[in-house]
């Protein structure tokens, strides 16, 4: 509590944890490359350094606010100091900006522009290190690493994986996996959060755009797209559309324009998932099967369980993810000559917020009848780049509806994109009726909310069901440890690796901070509101499928016959 004078303005503070937060609240965008509110503070980059009235300089991220402080954030000395830091960072940074995947989106580049660095006086004497392309999801380029440690902290503190860390020190310091391993040899779960928090292009998405372009030009192929729920509330970010606005209609239009033969909606696959997962859950509950049931939609989480908690493998739902169900179903549909009179081969392109989906599609259990279910996964970021490449003015596009029969999804399918959404959709399916009150009661049961671990109890036909909703694998690790030790008993645990759910996925346009989680979450819930069918099990297109060609094939198309954490080494 108290007052601080920042650049001559008096600013009140209460319990802010550091000076940097107060400076930001005062409307000053203090530069930083390593400070992230959700993670531990390391004070690595020194860019947030400020000066006090006595000329003392200190990093505002690691300074406790004190009443009566007088500080300056933009003095001649500070500008010189920050310029020098940026210049030094640039001197030890591969400066292939024009050919960097982060070009235009790089925080180091922004910093250099912001401080008017027009010349770097120091030359780069470092040896060029090889890039690591081993992961199906991300590419690591150590030559672009500025050692801010964001990826290290994210991987350990948020995701509980710790695949990478610093090695050595001083001029020899690097960020690498242990013992010179490649990323694929570590426990990396492919969530891509390191890529989100990396200020430069040192960690980027493994791009698959050119394969998709090639497929689109091949007349012998039927190229089919499926678009995940979370993509529609984030894609607009790149085109100046207000954050969280659902642009699914425009996405369908642009995909048609780019040459996709069919554009389907992954919410359909999500509806299938919920129908199957609800069945499985009730089955386990009534037959005394393995509980808690762990959700299986998030491939990063599935890999995490497989590698770190193998004793829980049988708890993981056998349901394929929405991507998996959708792809398998679509391919099966076009295997029937009636639906495929010209005999074209179907290529499934899945548009995802997620880098781990690129790994999921490679898993041994992502094949049906010997054929890969999903051929290509491209992230929202890659789709944005494709739209830009095609030169299509996204903003001026009229919305279009997705194609039938796999383009219609319920509100329950849409909310898959946020943490808690899978659970909420299951609860809707378990509950009779779909009146406003019924839906409202589910929404306020504890399933929604901003915290990354949410525990609550609902009653189902006289049985109290203990449910836990988690996002971020570090927290999921704690939850599973509690379950293992018998400290907690749950019936159902939903886990999404990315904080806030798929909306904050590793392949989304980069936005860091709680306000962005909220904007995207709100966008998803708004999309649910305008959906006429709220319960996945009420989706008429899904119901007709069960009576139609899916009959007798539920297990083959919608379930994993065996557990696979990964299959890409």
């Amino acid at each position: 509590m108290g007052k601080i004078t920042i650049d001559g303005m008096e600013v009140e503070f209460t319990n802010e944890k550091n000076l940097l937060t107060i400076i930001k609240k005062a409307g000053i965008d203090i530069p930083t490359l390593c400070y992230i509110d959700e993670l531990s503070t390391v004070g690595d980059c020194r860019l947030c350094t400020v000066e006090d009235e006595k000329g003392r300089m200190f990093a505002s991220c690691s300074e406790e606010p004190r009443d009566g402080m007088v500080i300056f954030t933009n003095t001649r000395r500070l500008r010189k100091y920050r310029k020098l830091i940026i210049e030094l960072l640039l001197s030890a940074h591969c400066q292939d900006c024009n050919t960097c995947s982060k070009n235009g989106d790089c925080r180091l580049q922004h910093m250099a522009r912001r401080y008017g660095i027009l010349n770097v006086r120091f030359s780069d004497y470092r040896e060029r290190l090889p890039q690591d392309h081993s992961s199906p999801s991300i590419i690591r380029d150590p030559n672009k690493c500025i050692l801010c440690g964001n990826c290290v902290r994210v991987c350990e503190e948020l995701e509980g994986v710790g695949a990478i860390n610093f090695m050595k020190r001083g001029s020899e310091a690097r960020v690498t996996p242990a013992f010179g391993k490649t990323i694929a040899e570590t426990d990396c779960v492919c969530c891509g959060q390191c890529r989100v928090f990396c200020p430069t292009g040192a960690i980027s998405i493994h791009h698959h755009r050119s394969w998709v372009w090639d497929a689109l030009e091949d007349p012998d192929l039927r190229v089919v797209a499926q678009v995940a729920p979370a993509v529609r509330v984030a894609l607009g970010d790149a085109f100046g559309i207000p954050e969280g606005e659902n642009v699914m209609g425009k996405i369908v239009n642009v995909l048609h324009r780019m040459g996709f033969d069919e554009v389907y909606d992954t919410t359909y696959g999500a509806d299938l998932t919920i129908v199957e997962e609800t069945k499985e859950f009730l089955d386990r509950l009534e037959q005394g099967g393995r509980l808690p049931l762990l959700t299986s939609c998030c491939p990063a989480w599935v890999k995490f369980v497989g590698e770190q908690f193998p004793e829980f493998i049988d708890n993981v739902s056998t349901c394929r993810s929405p991507q998996g169900m959708q792809s398998a179903t679509v391919k099966e549909y076009f295997r029937d000559p009636k639906n495929n009179p010209d005999g074209r081969r179907t290529v499934m392109v899945s548009i995802m917020p997620c880098t781990a989906k690129k790994m999921e599609k490679e898993r041994e259990n992502s094949y049906t009848k010997g054929e890969k279910d999903t051929d290509y996964v491209i992230t929202s970021t890659e789709l944005i780049e494709m739209i830009t490449t095609a030169g299509i003015d996204f903003n001026s596009l009229d919305p279009e509806a997705s194609d039938i029969p796999f383009g219609y999804g319920s509100g329950g399918g849409v909310i898959f994109g946020v943490s808690g959404g899978v659970t909420e959709a299951v609860l809707r399916n378990l509950t009779d009726g779909h009146s406003k009150d019924v839906l409202h009661n589910i929404a306020v049961s504890g399933v929604r909310g901003g915290s990354q671990v949410r525990e609550f109890t609902v009653n189902y036909k006289g049985t109290d069901l203990n449910i836990c909703v988690v996002s971020g694998l570090a927290r999921a690790r704690k939850v599973l440890e509690d379950v293992r030790a018998g400290r907690k008993q749950y019936h159902f645990i939903e886990v999404m690796a990315c904080p806030g759910g798929c909306i904050m996925g590793g392949g989304q346009p980069i936005k860091i901070g709680r306000e962005h989680v909220k904007n995207r979450t709100d966008g998803i819930y708004r999309s649910d509101k305008v959906a006429s069918v709220k319960k996945c099990g009420d989706n008429p297109m899904v119901l007709s499928l069960y009576d139609g060609f899916l009959k007798g094939k539920e297990h083959e198309l919608l379930h994993n016959s065996k557990f696979c954490a990964k299959n890409f080494r």
Partner: protein, 167 residues
């Protein structure tokens, strides 16, 4: 894969300090003291046991110059190259030792695992510059000539107490 006896020994060492993250450095010290180096497999094993990630353990182990993943010689010769030692000509001493033992900047240990030569930044014995250490003993005011004498003594000690010479 290391022999089981290595893991048993490591278990003993871990038991001394307790299975907690803060035990990492003392455990690494004791392993290195036992085997004269820190086998990578054991570091991974320790990390699992005390509940930290492998990458974290590797990070700590590589931060300190002291820990080595390569087997070291019976005699570890640490030539000081701090400012005082450097200006008092520690370089020729190091050069002599490397030449005499067939070592280089890339190769620190002799093939028979008898001698390791490395440079350290400061031994804190600036008054004795140029100084070096062989295991725990400090040798002061070194010259290449004195180093030769020292090596001969060590070799005599190493290759048999009966005064046997090298083949």
């Amino acid at each position: 894969m290391l022999d089981k006896s290595y893991y048993d020994k490591t278990d003993e060492i871990i038991a001394v300090y307790g299975k907690k993250p803060s035990s990492l450095i003392p455990i690494m010290h004791d392993i290195q003291e036992t085997y004269r180096y820190l086998p990578g497999e054991l570091l991974t094993y320790v990390a699992q046991q005390i509940g930290i990630t492998e990458s974290k353990a590797y990070s700590v182990a590589t931060f300190y110059e002291n820990f080595s993943f390569e087997p070291k010689g019976k005699y570890v010769i640490k030539v000081c190259d701090g400012t005082a030692c450097h200006v008092r000509k520690s370089t020729p001493v190091k050069e002599y030792l490397c030449k005499a033992l067939g070592l280089s900047d890339e190769k620190h240990t002799t093939d028979d695992l008898m001698f390791t030569v490395e440079t350290v930044s400061c031994l804190g014995a600036c008054g004795l510059a140029p100084a070096l250490m062989v295991n725990d003993a400090v040798y002061s005011k070194m010259t290449p000539e004195k180093a030769e004498e020292m090596l001969n003594t060590l070799k005599a000690e190493a290759f048999g107490g009966e005064g046997g010479s090298e083949q």
